[in-house]
Symmetry: C2
Subunit: 325 residues, 2 copies
């Protein structure tokens, strides 16, 4: 099977690529194409691997990618929330038009000769917006409070309609906030959720801008890859017309997160978390979902961590060689 | 105030125009522009009235319409459900891209100099798809089962995001199935809901293709105009970011509809309804919503009929000169 990963240079894309190379898929892989706005890193592989720098929103790019008729497509590429909010045109061009170009390229390919690839799309819990119930059900309306969330919600609708029409076999998965993100701190409003684990475990001070009582919805990068792998192979028949799924996750408070930090890093790590209330970040986070009842995904076999210790342990194993220095 | 009506040649657009000319709006009207794919009929008016044939999906058309900076815009234009399903490209071009062109034209106009018109958009209960609860709440997810419903759901999301950004002051209203539609029978799957009142009251035989137990969600053309008028003047602040509303309606069965027909047209009219089961139409109708709990719209003052007699009476008064021959 020929696999196309769009957004392959991002954190999830790189981990997914590594997992596929490690043999996580049941079906044999014959070819991989890795695409991103910056050219993804090439890997040693027992099959042909192509890496490409390409902008899905540019004319003709989607057609070129699809002309090779990949059997399995992961569409992970997106302008992130903050940038899509700051740059209205760019967010809609990449997150909406780019996705639609991809979907239409598949549609046109399927009209010329039988073709119906599996398409896995990463959506977001940003499709939901306050006022929200304490635990969000699978049939909750999408009332996003950002342009990013709006673009993801629209792509979900397109994915369902194009799948219903038989142009591809699509599945959209709404990822929880992924913690612990490896690498350097970024400017995302959600960055501190990872930072208050990652930095102290590396002996670096970090800032916590919200109250300990703040509750949010989490899964590890390892779980995110697991979701993508299962979504790539699952029988989509039981989904019916409802092709988009809230992934399972862990609903936890900052206090629970800090308790896990202390268990793995001791009081020394905990002492590196400096409380510095930020009213802007606090207000943004107050509008975010806190908990989901992700029954449909659980029934289909999707699994995430059930406590914060498992999330921290995955980070230590996958990013720190298994030990806290 | 300058009013732009897009989709002015349709049934609701014509009735809305007549209501505006009859003075239904509180704010004084200084100008009206009526647009449709076929040029709308011009009217005598105490202010300048322009009628235009234009295709919103064609380049530059939306900019031309918005360059005159209308204060109030009714966007009623759409390819109907059956045609959007039969012609995928045309449905997306008109119902999605045409609407987006309009929204972007307003956005660009608002970026050049302060401009924030009220925009009233007619959405549809086709944004909902089975499985559905017996009475659909305001926060029910949109899982449309047609391309038309998908396009309406996407436009709702865009309307909310563009309003949140301050490009216009938008409100989307999900219309019930409008009965009794005047004029000749059409090929819409829902046509019989109007036909079994309209034709027998005119002494003409008609076919009922579904069971008497079928339940659906209705409002009269008069109520539809009332929704648009209220949506054009209402304070949108209480809507928050949830700019799209399910309109109130009447949940009624075919049996209730036929009982109303008999009360107004007697056994003679009832006898003109010929039962001829159509499995295709029955299956389509089985996927449609049956009832809503339209609490938000009711709280805002939107009102529809509460029994089928009032729907039939509105038809007799508005379309038959007040009497059944």
């Amino acid at each position: 099977m020929h696999i196309l990963v769009i957004g392959a240079a991002g954190m999830v894309g790189r981990k997914l690529t590594a997992a596929i190379l490690a043999g996580v898929l049941a079906r044999p892989v014959s070819r991989m194409t890795l695409v991103d706005i910056v050219e993804p890193v090439a890997h040693e592989a027992p099959f042909p691997m192509t890496t490409l720098s390409a902008d899905l929103s540019a004319p003709g790019v989607a057609q070129q990618l699809i002309a090779t008729r990949p059997d399995l497509i992961f569409h992970l590429a997106a302008i992130v929330s903050g940038e899509a909010e700051a740059d209205f045109d760019k967010g809609y061009a990449i997150n909406l038009d780019g996705t639609r170009h991809l979907f239409d390229a598949i549609r046109h390919e399927s009209l010329s000769a039988p073709y119906c690839p599996r398409l896995v799309f990463t959506s977001s819990i940003a499709v939901f917006g306050t006022p929200l119930p304490p635990a969000i059900q699978d049939d909750m309306a999408h009332t996003p409070l950002t342009s990013y969330g709006t673009q993801k919600a629209i792509c979900e609708l397109l994915l369902a309609d194009y799948s219903r029409r038989g142009f591809f076999d699509g599945i959209g998965i709404r990822l929880p906030t992924i913690v612990v993100r490896p690498g350097a701190p970024n400017k995302a409003a959600s960055g501190f959720f990872s930072g208050i684990i990652r930095e102290p475990l590396n002996g670096i001070e970090t800032v916590l801008p919200v109250d300990d009582s703040v509750r949010h919805w989490f899964a590890s990068p390892r779980s995110a890859v697991g979701f993508l792998v299962l979504a790539s192979s699952i029988d989509t028949t039981p989904l019916g017309q409802r092709r988009n799924l809230t992934m399972p996750g862990l609903s936890a408070t900052i206090a629970e997160e800090l308790a896990a930090l202390e268990r793995f890093g001791g009081t020394r790590a905990l002492g590196l978390v400096r409380r510095e209330h930020d009213p802007v970040i606090s207000r943004i986070v107050a509008g975010w979902p806190q908990n989901f009842d992700a029954r449909r995904a659980l029934d289909l076999g999707f699994r995430a961590e059930t406590n914060f210790d498992d999330i921290v342990r995955a980070h230590i194993e996958d990013e720190m060689g298994g030990t806290v220095r």
